[in-house]
Point group: C2
Chain length 395, copies 2
Amino acid sequence: MLVQKYKDMLSGKSVIRELSEFATARGQEIGYENVFDYSLGNPSVPAPREFTDEMIRMLKQMGTNELHGYSPSLGIPGVREAVAMSLEKRFGLPYRKEHIFMAVGAAGALAHAFRLVTEPGDEILTFAPYFPEYGPYVNLTGAVLKVVPPDTESFQIHFAKFEEMLTEKVMAVLINTPNNPSGVVYSAETLERMADLLRKKSAEYGHTIYLISDEPYREIVFQGVDAPCVSAFYDDTIMCYSFSKSLSIPGERIGYVAVNPACRDAEDMVYMCGQISRGIGHNCPPSIIQLAVAKVLDKTADLSVYETNMNLLYQEMTELGFTCVKPGGTFYIFPRALEEDAKEFCRKALKYDLILVPGDTFGAPGYFRMAYCIDTEKVERSLAALRRFVKEVYR
Amino acid sequence: MLVQKYKDMLSGKSVIRELSEFATARGQEIGYENVFDYSLGNPSVPAPREFTDEMIRMLKQMGTNELHGYSPSLGIPGVREAVAMSLEKRFGLPYRKEHIFMAVGAAGALAHAFRLVTEPGDEILTFAPYFPEYGPYVNLTGAVLKVVPPDTESFQIHFAKFEEMLTEKVMAVLINTPNNPSGVVYSAETLERMADLLRKKSAEYGHTIYLISDEPYREIVFQGVDAPCVSAFYDDTIMCYSFSKSLSIPGERIGYVAVNPACRDAEDMVYMCGQISRGIGHNCPPSIIQLAVAKVLDKTADLSVYETNMNLLYQEMTELGFTCVKPGGTFYIFPRALEEDAKEFCRKALKYDLILVPGDTFGAPGYFRMAYCIDTEKVERSLAALRRFVKEVYR
């Protein structure tokens, strides 16, 4: 018999997917350039030239057995070493190869992190607004994802609610800064306060509460914004990284787990990841992609377009009267809708060919997300549509 | 707290890994060319030129967003389509895109197949000798792997034991033909008899018993051997494939699940794989690798060296008095050891710089495996060492 829980999931509808399908259909009708599709968080800038060049160089110069041979399940040693050195140089923490586990994208990294520290029935806390895939990612392991309601003033952490929900059943806290969907970067003050609370509660409950830090947007931080290194605040931090956004290669599924060197069992945890892999069919990321990213660890795609787009949108949105926390990074903005039901608001926006995603999906009803990883020229053209939408419907 | 079951696994020793470490250490001592390392099933022939050329062509000609963009979680539609067409042409079964799920290697494909059809506590049967990773692959899902003892005459299936163990708790049967470690190809007679039994028992128990067919060695079949298509014998077959061996690219982690078009819920099962992915961090295989293999589906590396090596070894082994089923494919041979304890036999062989793997690991004590995916020149040199070993120790 087929397993019912997966069969049942087939009838679940993804709002984002439905919107994206609408956008595609509408695009076929009026030309895709006339649909202002803010639904998908898909990097739009080219991958750095160096990544492509390195791939071609290896394909031309290396023997195929060396290039395409099995990687050890923890990752290629030289690649792990290079990642550790880059992290040490950047953040001043003593990362070594032994703290790094190469993973098939951030999803792969998170799948290992969750299994490291939770048994079925244990709880993981995250903070709204949050990336909706965290739900199935966690719940299908048998652990339970609980969502702390948002602090809608700042989209930092709602500490009163957090402390209330941080019970003995919580084995890990999952954060994402810079944040999808709010674009907000957690401040040093937020991280310090969170770390203090985690240390206090770990001592009180007699078990470590791990901090799982999902950092795919780490390199997309805007001018004047301080994006502190999460691991520097809390020893028991498991960093999950993906090169998808920094190098604009989301399809190549490459990332890593970096266990904080200050974490008591750091090296064991990396070996445990190798064991977890055997149960989830992970094995290791593709060799050629591991080798290529190792050569461009300190490079990024040209990410400046995201800041340009953010500034255009933020200015227009505030001028139009939207309540909106200014993003510190990512390629998302998360304003308050102009009516209570954001789903209704987004539905009305479709008439203006504006594809916006209601915040309900992200655990923050009443808000909506715009993913502005699109051409600046298109953002500029969308502003007129936004203005018309607001004036005709809400004035 | 860290999860104990994974921590406990760290103390488990892999015999194959230990042997491989011995070989490396010995190689540093006497030169690697003088160590006859038959321990690792690592393809040794170059990847086909066409694969490399296609990778370079795409890197040079395609836009990076198109090339490195997100793949849908079921795989890139054009790639799934190409795989289906190739399977249809080859096996005459009406495969369509809807039956194909692209996976990160055979391990990824199997991880989905197991979760499709078993809940925790359910049983999966496999047949000794078997690939030892099936143990953690299955058991870490919560299902239970049970191993049917070998028919040591032929390394086909021991049907009396099979029928005895095929209880109501069995939800799937897992086979691997051509087989690692025996090199044996299941005959049409074996497959027909197995299918009949599965149909009978499915009807008797009122639930489908799925057949999971792990086929990474499908393209390595020797002259005069008939390797029947497993799916043609049984409707409810889930084929798991990897390009690791056929294209000699094991590090690139690319394969697929192909659900038999005749299977009642085939299309749903592929969609369910996409849901399973969310729970195990799979997402999709790397885009560039998907696109590249789609262009070389009907190509293979030059696999003829494996047959040359097999013939050399089989002839020598039988002349030396080993009991040995002649392999029909793969790059393995699985003779009976010259003393009851194959571990002791393999330990003694180390003195002759012969690295052999005891069959205990594969559920067949008393036998040993040789992985002859090494240069023919080295196989030839190893024969003298084999002769000396047998004559000095066992005559």
